[in-house]
């Protein structure tokens, strides 16, 4: 597995070991790219900071909370309304953000008084909200404000409120990943064990590392409920602050994004003996296996199997309609962290696409290990990519589509590579059986976009095709397909609705009477 040298990075030898190409017959022992090291200044890396890793990625999806940042206004403003983590309480956490608005005089004289005033004002402005998270920023960390002390003081004066403090300044670590770690540990240290939940089932889980992007969490929780499982808390998408204080009472921690949230699972194992089960909500095969594993743990595989059978029967013919049309398409899978291994194998299996490159902005070597293992030969793996390397890779690989963030997506657009938003999704949710079909549908529409095709025509030089005044995706995609496929009665295009989440919120579930004597053990 030779290291891949980018031409644009020849002048920075530190980059030499951050990219590899998976060679024939090679395994991971030959080489892995370096990971999670300090960023090279001026390289135009795509990394964010530890504050955003804590506040923006993990903290803010919690839905019934005032999320306040102690610092100047920018950290708050910049991370606000840039994600699609929805919630079933009318998206309170998306709509409101709070900054203590630290100014020069506070830098000099301290801002603890300002912080306290802010906390009181915010609770007053939202009298029904009694929970708050406080995030340190670079500025408040450097001047040494004791945020924990102020939080404790307010909680003593206002016994009805509860406040969580996360000390994760932006400079704390090479990337946002440092913040993931800090908030995981802070939460279990400060809050877990403080609330005793009502147990209503024999089977109780925490759903961890799931951020409810476009409703992912609600799709997965629907499956769990259909299996008669009580989801005590979700860390943190659509999650409730008080539910997350009772994490210690679950029988099992079901972990989705191991990159951002394995820390709390590992701590729950050490402190409360709760086992950790890693699952995967993306992909028919992976999701089926995941539900079966959860079923197996509780001895209710039959319930899992019933869901898998029902969902597969409903959605597989639609999945396969797309698979026929996506075979062999080249994909650059360039997300932030864990999706490189959540998706690499699953999209090849279920959609027939070929992952020609994976990259990670804030993943560690372990993520690369899993990602590369799930890629085919020839795949290019890049750690902490930068702007020029990404361009060079796109020129070299000429992918049919790229899955990445919003801004890099704009770069790809200019190279005439269609992009799908890997963080926020185009038309999600992408988790669940139906979600996976939605993903395939988005990929299909992007690759076979008639407008995209037009971007390759140079009207000043090329012959302008004039046989048709319009094209449809199907006219483009079905050209080389066999009659057997195009005329298939079994296969069909996606038939779901634009909004698949709202109906889930009013759903009733079968009653699985608890067999054991229930108590808050």
């Amino acid at each position: 597995m030779p290291y891949h040298k980018f031409k644009c990075s020849e002048c920075i030898p530190e980059r030499e070991k951050h990219a590899v190409i998976k060679g024939p017959g090679e395994d991971l022992t030959s080489a892995l790219p370096l990971g999670y090291l300090n960023t090279i200044p001026g390289s135009i890396s795509e990394r964010g900071c530890a504050y955003c890793g804590a506040k923006h990625v993990i903290g803010t999806p919690m839905k019934d909370v005032i999320h306040m940042s102690h610092g100047p206004v920018g950290c708050t403003y910049d991370t606000w309304q840039t994600k699609r983590y929805i919630s079933d309480n009318d998206n309170f956490q998306l709509k409101y953000t709070y900054a203590t608005d630290m100014k020069e005089k506070h830098i000099i004289f301290g801002a603890e008084k300002l912080l306290k005033q802010n906390i009181i004002e915010a609770f007053k402005a939202f009298p029904t909200i009694k929970r708050m998270t406080l995030y340190q920023t670079c500025a408040s960390a450097l001047i040494g404000d004791d945020i924990n002390a102020i939080a404790a003081e307010v909680m003593e004066e206002m016994p009805e409120v509860d406040i969580f403090v996360c000390n994760s300044p932006g400079f704390g670590g090479p990337s946002q990943s440092g913040g993931h770690h800090k908030i995981n540990i802070a939460w279990i240290n400060q809050k877990v064990g403080n609330v005793e939940p009502k147990i209503t089932s024999d089977y109780v889980i925490n759903y961890v590392g799931e951020y409810n992007i476009q409703g992912d969490q609600e799709v997965m929780v629907d499956y769990f409920r259909r299996m008669g499982i009580q989801v005590l808390s979700t860390f943190t998408g659509n999650g409730s602050y008080d539910d997350l204080r009772s994490m210690h009472r679950a029988h099992l921690n079901v972990l989705e994004c191991a990159r951002s949230a394995e820390y709390i699972c590992n701590e729950l194992k050490v402190r409360y003996g709760t086992p950790r089960l890693d699952i995967d909500g993306f992909g028919f095969e992976a999701l089926g296996t995941s539900l079966r594993k959860v079923g197996l743990f509780f001895g209710i595989e039959d319930r899992a199997q019933a869901i898998i059978d029902e969902e597969t029967a409903r959605w597989k013919p639609e999945m396969d309609w797309y698979k026929e049309r996506l075979q062999g398409k080249k994909v650059c899978l360039w997300p932030g962290g864990s999706k490189l291994w959540h998706w690499a194998h699953a999209i090849r299996e279920d959609m027939g696409v070929n992952v020609v490159s994976v990259y990670t902005k804030f993943g560690h070597q372990g993520d690369m290990e899993k990602g590369i293992a799930r890629c085919e030969e020839g795949a290019l793996a890049i750690d902490d990519p930068n702007e020029l390397e990404a361009l060079e890779a796109l020129e070299m690989l000429k992918p049919d589509i790229i899955f990445t963030g919003k801004r890099p997506g704009e770069v790809a657009k200019k190279l005439r590579v269609p992009y799908l938003n890997a963080h926020a999704y185009h038309n999600g949710p992408y988790k669940g059986f139906e979600g996976w079909v939605r993903f395939a549908r988005d990929i299909y529409n992007a690759i076979y976009s008639p407008i995209h095709q037009l971007s390759f025509v140079d009207i000043s030089k090329d012959e302008i095709p004039d046989q048709t005044s319009f094209l449809t995706q199907k006219m483009i995609s079905d050209v080389n397909l066999s009659e057997e496929v195009t005329a298939s009665k079994e296969l069909r295009e996606y038939t779901g609705n634009y909004d698949t989440i709202t109906p889930l919120r009013n759903k009733t579930y079968p009653d699985f009477p608890a067999e054991k004597k229930l108590s808050a053990v």
Binding site: D78, H106, C138, L391, R407, K414
Partner: protein, 462 residues
């Protein structure tokens, strides 16, 4: 007095209107050709600002970070700036201008970016990059002072003062736009070209609306050149459209090179555009041509169809950058509307002395509030808890949920406007801007009438 000017009473911010200074400095940086700014601070200060720009423009812009990590925060991180400059110059051979933009963290730890620039100029640039034109420009934009507006103002001034050099008169005017969109630059350039006035536009950002070309091109950037910036000292005059966004640079040129200077008014609406043209005429001696009389006539014709029938007495709240908010308020008044609440999103202490605000205080005869250092909760709280009734909101996308949750029609204007398509392409300044704004407001009200079935039949015979 009917118009009350006051500060937000709360200490903190619930839903900010503006972000912090480094964002403004970065906005100035991307307006320059062959330029990539380095933000000295944590990586989020760049990553999220780039995201914000790409949300607004649906384009990607290049900005680098010194990537401050823990060790740098403790022991000082000026060496990270040195490394960043070197890495950037090695890998981007076209780059000539590098603004070094400070943030709260690097200002608090006291990193001396001016010293680093001096060191690099005498060291690295002489040794390794001899013969290459490179300009390092330190810009102090700590996040705990001012806002993105003052950050922009400071950066424009620092960039202009770095380059401006007296040579022989170039017969041009300097046109400092302030924080505007490509559509505004197009509109202003059109007015100047109709008047046959040659201008150096700072910053030349029409190209932010960049095409998708058959040969592929990857980034968007502004087109203001080093020569443009250098020549600012040779101009026959400077017009800064906005007082708080570029005003400092105009004053610098006036003080340093005796360049006649006119700051404002922000040419939003017919009246302010008239004044702008008159200022250009005074400065250049060029007459206002018949073509603009006609253009103005088209705008007036369009607006006359709307004012008494639809706009009269409509209550409007406006938030955003101060110059924009004031300009919009003045235009609304001309349109017979009542801008009852103006929210200025930062704590600039000179707002109360702004003659435009004083004029509102002296002359407005209905209840009007101007809130300084405001946040969006000042608006929402008045609607939710204090009975404020509004017909229309003018502001950027960060306030979208107020419009959505309280069913108040809203026209997106300012920065950022990511929840509507292509707004950066439309001007709010000049006669074209007046027409677009007026018609956009009208159509927004019409859609709302239909959606709420509020006298929607009125439109049958309009």
């Amino acid at each position: 007095m009917q118009c009350e000017v006051k500060n937000k009473e709360r200490a903190g911010v619930i839903n900010p209107i503006l972000t912090c200074q480094p964002c403004g400095a970065q906005y100035a940086s991307i307006g320059i050709k062959e330029c990539i700014g380095i933000v000295h601070g944590g990586q989020g200060c760049v990553m999220f600002v780039r995201l914000l720009f790409s949300q607004h423009f649906k384009e990607s812009f290049e900005l680098a970070s010194s990537s401050l990590h823990e060790d740098g925060a403790v022991f000082g991180a000026t060496h990270r700036v040195e490394e960043a400059v070197d890495v950037l110059l090695m890998r981007y051979p076209h780059v000539k201008v590098i603004p070094i933009i400070s943030t709260c963290s690097t200002e608090v730890i006291g990193d001396d970016i001016d010293g680093v620039v001096l060191k690099l100029n005498n060291g690295l640039l002489k040794e390794k990059y001899a013969g290459r034109e490179v300009h390092l420009i330190p810009i102090h934009s700590p996040s705990f002072k001012g806002s993105m507006v003052s950050g922009y103002d400071v950066a424009v001034k620092d960039i202009v003062s770095h380059f401006a050099k007296k040579d022989k008169p170039n017969g041009k005017i300097n046109l400092i736009t302030g924080w505007v969109n490509p559509g505004d630059v197009t509109a202003i350039k059109h007015l100047l070209s109709e008047m046959q006035v040659d201008a150096t536009v700072l910053f030349e950002i029409e190209s932010f609306d960049s095409p998708l070309m058959p040969d592929g091109n990857s980034v968007s950037y502004g087109n203001t050149t080093i020569a443009d910036l250098t020549e600012t000292a040779d101009a026959l005059g400077t017009i800064a459209l906005n007082r708080y966004e570029g005003g400092q640079a105009a004053k610098y040129l006036e003080n340093e090179f005796d360049i006649p200077t006119i700051i404002g008014p922000t040419p939003i609406g017919i009246r302010n555009t008239d004044i702008f043209l008159q200022n250009v005429k005074k400065m250049t001696g060029k007459p206002i041509p018949a073509s603009l009389v006609r253009e103005r006539g088209i705008a007036l014709d369009a607006l006359t169809d709307l004012t008494h029938m639809f706009f009269a007495d409509k209550k409007v709240a406006i938030y955003g950058n101060a110059d924009l908010v004031i300009g919009l308020a003045e235009f609304c008044l001309d349109l017979e509307m009542k801008p009852v609440l103006l929210l200025l999103g930062d704590d600039n202490t000179s707002y109360p002395n702004d003659p435009r605000i004083k004029a509102l205080q002296e002359k407005v005869s209905f209840e009007m509030e101007v809130i300084m250092n405001a946040d969006l909760w000042e608006l929402e709280n008045r609607i939710k808890n204090e009975g404020l009734e509004l017909d229309l909101i003018l502001g950027h996308s960060k306030g979208r949920f107020i419009s959505i949750d309280y069913n108040i029609p809203m026209v997106r204007v300012g920065f950022p406007t990511y929840d509507r398509a292509g707004l950066y392409r439309h001007p709010v300044v000049g006669y074209a801007g007046a027409t677009w704004l007026g018609e956009e407001m009208a159509n927004t009200l019409f859609t709302d009438m239909e959606y709420k079935k509020n006298k929607e039949w009125v439109l049958n015979v309009w």
